[in-house]
Amino acid sequence: MKNRLLAAFAALWISLPLAAQITIEVDRGYDNPKKIAVVPFGVGPNVAGVENPSGIVSFDLARSGQFAPTPTENMLSLPTRPAEMLFRDWRVLGVEYVVIGRTEMDATGNLSVSYYLFDVLKEQQLSNEKFTAPPTSLRDMAHLVSDAVYEKLTGIQGAFSTRIMYVLARDLGTPAVKFKLEMADADGARPRTLLESREPILSATWSPDGKRIAYVSFERQKPSIILQEIATGTRTVLTDFPGLNSAPAFSPDGKTLALVLSRDGDPEIYTMNLATRELRRITRQRAIDTEPSWTPDGKSLIFTSDRGGKPQIYQVELATGLTQRLTFEGDYNARGRMLPDGKHLVCVHRRNGVFHIALMDLGRQRMTALTSTSLDESPSIAPNGTMLIYATQDRGRGILAVVSIDGTVKYRLPSSVGDVREPAWSPFLNRTRG
């Protein structure tokens, strides 16, 4: 299993400078990854200077751990049109599915990417689609191909065309320290800076429509919560009370923000109606109450509290105030995030003094460690619930890594400089389709 995947990556190495920087580890691996061949796409006349989408698609599918792409040099034929498909060329290789496609430039200067997905055993075309956009959107279109193929073959919506946000810190512990809030594709490509500051930035989070973000900034020499429109860069200070202003989290309908204020003497959870800016206090405990996040139905918040002496995760129903403790295993469970199914949560869990990302089955009250490195933190779940991104350390440097929700597949995102931390996986984003 491991060898097969590594072989697949060796083949992609040369054509994918970005992908080459990502290390993929497969712990146990899926028992039966689907063997898929993504054939280099045909390149139409006038198409120049753009990457071949096949490398991007192949790499996306491989990162899910559910697919084992066939190296290009093993392919017996390189079809780019349905009429050129010879199924026996793929059967002899044991390939189950084949993706072919073309890129074409139209008269208006737009680039189109079309693909066809085939089932080799059934000798059948399963789907095809064509995306059109300016050539600068090549990667977006390639990720949409990945999403479509992934969904067709697994039944789960693909999340390859989503984005991630993270904080990049440079020169920590020196007067030159600098913090950047970055946004990139889910595979780490095309990073761009949303905010740069000499003061800390943390807790960046997405609105459910993916158009706005909220974060905590120390640019006023104290924490305040800022709302920023991604497209325009317009920023609004949401709260700037004395004490903590932290841990913003948008409700699933995007109308309310959960947050933490310590203006009453100790950190308490509040909700803010984003239209009226009206605040409502949710917790009343002489303890640390922080890290709120919403249950998928939007009716409850889960949060961290040390009201029992050590940090544990609690749930409060907003309508009734009814509060229950969710975690009992271990003496440090924090920053809980519920999976889209509402039946599991991921959190930072301390075991034998080491911090891991753990998955908790709420029904069975069982906690399973998903990561085995130390100082793992800030888990953020992909919108389709299959993977989560988290922060960890590699030789003393903060990096980002991704683990599948069953713990079997792990990979690290490349980072060239500084400490990378606090990843936030975007919701599904609506992109232009051709």
């Binding site: 512990g173 943390l202 807790s203 120390f218 004490g243 924090a334 100082l375």
Partner: protein
């Protein structure tokens, strides 16, 4: 009046509590009997006059009259704890005297944690550490309006390393005079 008396009593009780079990300096301070409250009684550090304690360095930070050196402005904490360490108290008492003698001066107490644990929880823990210092200063008669508290959690380590030694340096509260 009744309420003030009660409040003073509880502040004294707190001061006695933090001072209990600390070094010789602590005992002396306990004898002088800090009685904070509306009257703002003048508490003099043992052996020093008010004028001496008000000396500042070029940056406006108080100078320790005994040593002629700037008063230490960094105080360390145990892992996961926000309680003041006994050896912090003697220096904090001198800061309290300085602030009472210079009622126009303000101090910001920055709270910090090491990198272990989640960032938002650490932000709260850093605030709790800074508040411990603020509460002690107030128990020594400093007006709360002279004090601001800001927590940076784990975001501004003094030492960016990942060893026990680095973590010990990062679990701290810093006094920044304005």
């Amino acid at each position: 009046m009744q309420r003030n008396w009660l409040r003073n009593l509880s502040v004294v009780a707190f001061a006695a509590l933090v001072l209990a079990g600390c070094s010789s300096t602590g005992k002396k301070a306990a004898q002088t009997g800090p009685l904070p409250g509306d009257e703002q009684p003048e508490v003099t550090a043992p052996g020093q006059s008010d004028s001496e304690i008000s000396r500042v360095d070029a940056e406006g930070n108080p100078i320790n009259p005994q040593t002629g050196m700037p008063l230490s402005r960094v105080f360390y904490f145990d892992y996961d704890k926000a309680m003041l360490q006994p050896d912090s108290l003697a220096v904090l008492e001198l800061h309290a005297v300085f602030l009472k003698n210079n009622s126009d001066r303000r101090v910001v107490i920055d709270g910090f944690t090491d990198e272990r644990g989640t960032r938002e929880y650490n932000l709260a823990l850093g605030e709790r550490r800074a508040e411990s210092v603020a509460t002690f200063l107030v128990s020594q008669g400093v007006r709360r309006s002279q004090i601001d508290v800001v927590s940076y959690g784990e975001e501004r380590p003094a030492d960016p390393g990942h060893s026990e030694a680095a973590w010990a340096k990062n679990r701290r509260a810093e006094l920044v005079y304005r």
